[in-house]
């Protein structure tokens, strides 16, 4: 019989980190994700796997510890919540510029500024469009359950090392705090060898390994940027993840991720009781965004309602994907408020069906 555990999303991500063979975690407390480091320190991963856990003096320090550790070829992660992730943006840009694989978890809350400690999805732009300076992308995965919080950890590391690129798990305070059943994979061994580019001490058989994002030669630096863009094109072609729920024979669709996607599942049931044929398209990779797939589903729909805990950020990508073929509107709550399934159905009727 399979063994399930009842856990918070934040705890599940921490347990999954140990099981994924993470070498190091560097973090700084912030609500609503503090359980990640609390769970890790309680579990003594240094005894279970030899994993290092260190509480840094700030998010600025933790993202730079991540840089050093990732640059020396280790499997490392940090976690934070929206204001802390903002503080990390310079470091994230450097990680992308130095092409370092690592995992950054954002258990997002409402903003702007200090905002609120309640759930939010207003970090979508920051996560998917850059956030820091320069032309770069993170691979962004959006879990919608405690199970996915656990599953996406090893998936994130695989993608990070495959592309030498930072990966973000963009969750929110609801998924982080809620308890659900979760089943874990077996313990993975920690990496025994490091990639060839890592700074582990120069041996006579090779030139020095340098981890840097600096190049003062414009022509060479442009060539590097072109190389980065080619990598991003490849990721866009090969790593799109999404889920369609109740999408056969529908007239309308919700597009939503994370907590919003969970609420929309209930809205689908309520709408169907009223005879409205609506399904859910759930982007799992927010970057690369499933433009093609959203565009394709739009061909057989009359309208789409993008539902987010924000003023409407992902809706811009949905509109780009749909390219004017059908009506696309946004419905969202902000400031830590969470819509009820009923109000989403009402929004669908008002903004899409009757509008």
């Amino acid at each position: 019989m399979e063994e399930y555990k009842l856990m918070k999303g934040n705890e599940a991500i921490a347990e999954a980190a140990i099981l994924a063979g993470t070498d190091g975690y560097f973090g700084y407390p912030i609500t609503p994700q503090s359980e990640v480091m609390e769970y890790l320190t309680m579990e003594k991963p240094e005894e279970r796997t030899g994993m290092v856990v260190l509480q840094a003096e700030s998010e600025v320090a933790s993202i730079n510890m991540l840089y050093g550790a990732a640059g020396s070829g280790k499997k490392v992660m940090t976690s934070s919540s929206s204001p802390g992730i903002s503080l990390m943006q310079e470091g994230i840009s450097y990680l992308a510029g130095a092409e370092l694989p690592c995992l950054i978890v954002n258990v997002a809350r409402g903003g702007p500024g200090l905002g609120t400690i309640q759930p939010g999805q207003a970090d979508y732009f920051q996560a998917t469009k850059g956030g820091g300076h320069g032309d770069y992308h993170l691979i962004v995965l959006a879990p919608a359950s405690v199970q996915e919080m656990a599953d996406f950890v090893s998936m994130a590391y695989d993608l990070a090392f495959k592309y030498r690129n930072p990966v973000m798990i963009l969750s929110d305070g609801a998924i982080g705090q809620m308890m659900e059943k979760v089943k874990f994979k077996k313990q993975q061994e920690r990496m025994k060898t490091q990639p060839g580019w890592a700074t582990v001490g120069k041996t006579p058989d090779r030139e020095p390994n340098i981890i840097t994002s600096l190049d003062l030669d414009p022509a060479r630096h442009e060539r590097f940027n072109i190389k980065l863009q080619k990598k991003y094109e490849k990721i866009q072609k090969e790593e799109v993840l999404f889920e369609e729920i109740a999408c056969d024979d529908i007239d309308y669709a919700f597009v939503a991720y994370g907590t919003s996607a969970r609420i929309c599942q209930k809205s689908i049931e309520l709408a169907r009781e009223e005879g409205i044929k609506v399904g859910l398209f759930r982007p799992i990779s927010l970057w690369p965004f499933p433009y093609k797939e959203v565009g394709k589903i739009a061909d057989r729909l009359k309208g789409i309602l993008s539902v987010e805990l924000s003023a409407g950020q992902m809706v811009e990508d949905v509109r780009l994907a749909v390219n004017g073929k059908i009506k696309v509107e946004h419905y969202g709550r902000m400031g830590g408020m969470i819509p009820t399934p009923e109000e989403i159905v009402l929004a669908l009727k008002k903004q899409i069906i009757g509008g």
Binding site: M65, G68, A69, G71, Y94, K202, P204, P208
Partner: protein, 260 residues
């Protein structure tokens, strides 16, 4: 003619009194003539070679004049963002506790934007070595006021001299980190004369040896000149440094491990 004689003399092995360390490569350094960075680089490189730890060393470069130092060293290096080298070094060292990890930072990097990372790495007693080059000015960006700029000292952002009431005091961060239980060895040296070069090299060797003992952070400040930023010829800059920098930033050991 003179060259020929010189070359003949030089090729006799018994006449070779100095050769460049293999830990530095042949790239031409970008530092201004008379700057202390080249000497400080060479001393660190020589000690790495003499201790035979090339394959165990990871260096962290700063942002500032020495941002490109990895172009000159024959070792694995990482380039940190401005001020964060001690955090980057912490990340490396925590996962590679048997390697020798050092940062090399200027005064703006270490004592202004990176103050928090400096103090907390030292306070945790990270087993790393921090090389701190203090020339009292932001060299790379064109000679602006640094946290270590002396009272009355002119810079491009203190054109009438540093006014303490308005701009605050020069920061003795080396004395500050010496207070922390996490540091094992804290010293202030210079590289402008043969004797100061010899002392600094000894200090570097000690610092890297202490790191092997895992007894905490070793911290070496090198008071240096910035003749271009100070707008002086190199010799005059060194004289000015002796007369003005040394009385405030006094040379010598500030903290040594108890067993020594």
């Amino acid at each position: 003619m003179a060259d020929q004689i010189l070359n003949k003399e030089l090729i006799k092995p018994e006449n070779l009194v100095y050769k460049k360390t293999k830990i530095l490569n042949d790239n031409v350094m970008h530092y201004c003539p008379g700057c202390g960075h080249g000497t400080a680089h060479r001393l660190i490189a020589e000690v790495i070679e003499e201790m035979d730890i090339q394959s165990d060393v990871i260096g962290i470069a700063p942002v500032g004049c020495s941002v490109l130092m990895y172009n000159y060293f024959n070792i694995d290096m990482q380039e940190a963002s401005h001020g964060r080298a001690p955090a980057v070094a912490t990340g490396v060292k925590r996962l590679w506790p048997d390697k020798t990890v050092f940062t090399y930072q200027g005064d703006g990097d270490l004592a202004a934007i990176g103050t928090a990372e400096t103090i907390h790495a030292c306070n945790r007693g990270e087993n790393i070595t921090i090389f701190f080059i203090n020339n009292g000015i932001y060299g790379m960006t064109g000679g602006q006021m640094a946290p270590t700029t002396l009272e009355g000292m002119k810079s491009s952002t203190t054109p009438y001299g540093r006014n303490i009431a308005m701009m605050g005091n020069p920061l003795k961060i080396t004395e500050l980190v010496a207070q922390l239980p996490g540091t094992c060895y804290v010293t202030r040296q210079a590289v402008h004369t043969p004797s100061s070069v010899r002392k600094t090299k000894k200090a570097i060797r000690k610092a890297l040896e202490y790191q092997k003992k895992n007894i905490g952070t070793s911290f070496i400040e090198v008071v240096s000149n910035c003749n271009s930023g100070w707008k002086m010829p190199p010799v005059q800059a060194n004289e000015w440094m002796e007369e003005n920098m040394f009385p405030f930033f006094q040379l010598g050991d500030i903290k040594v491990p108890e067993e020594d």
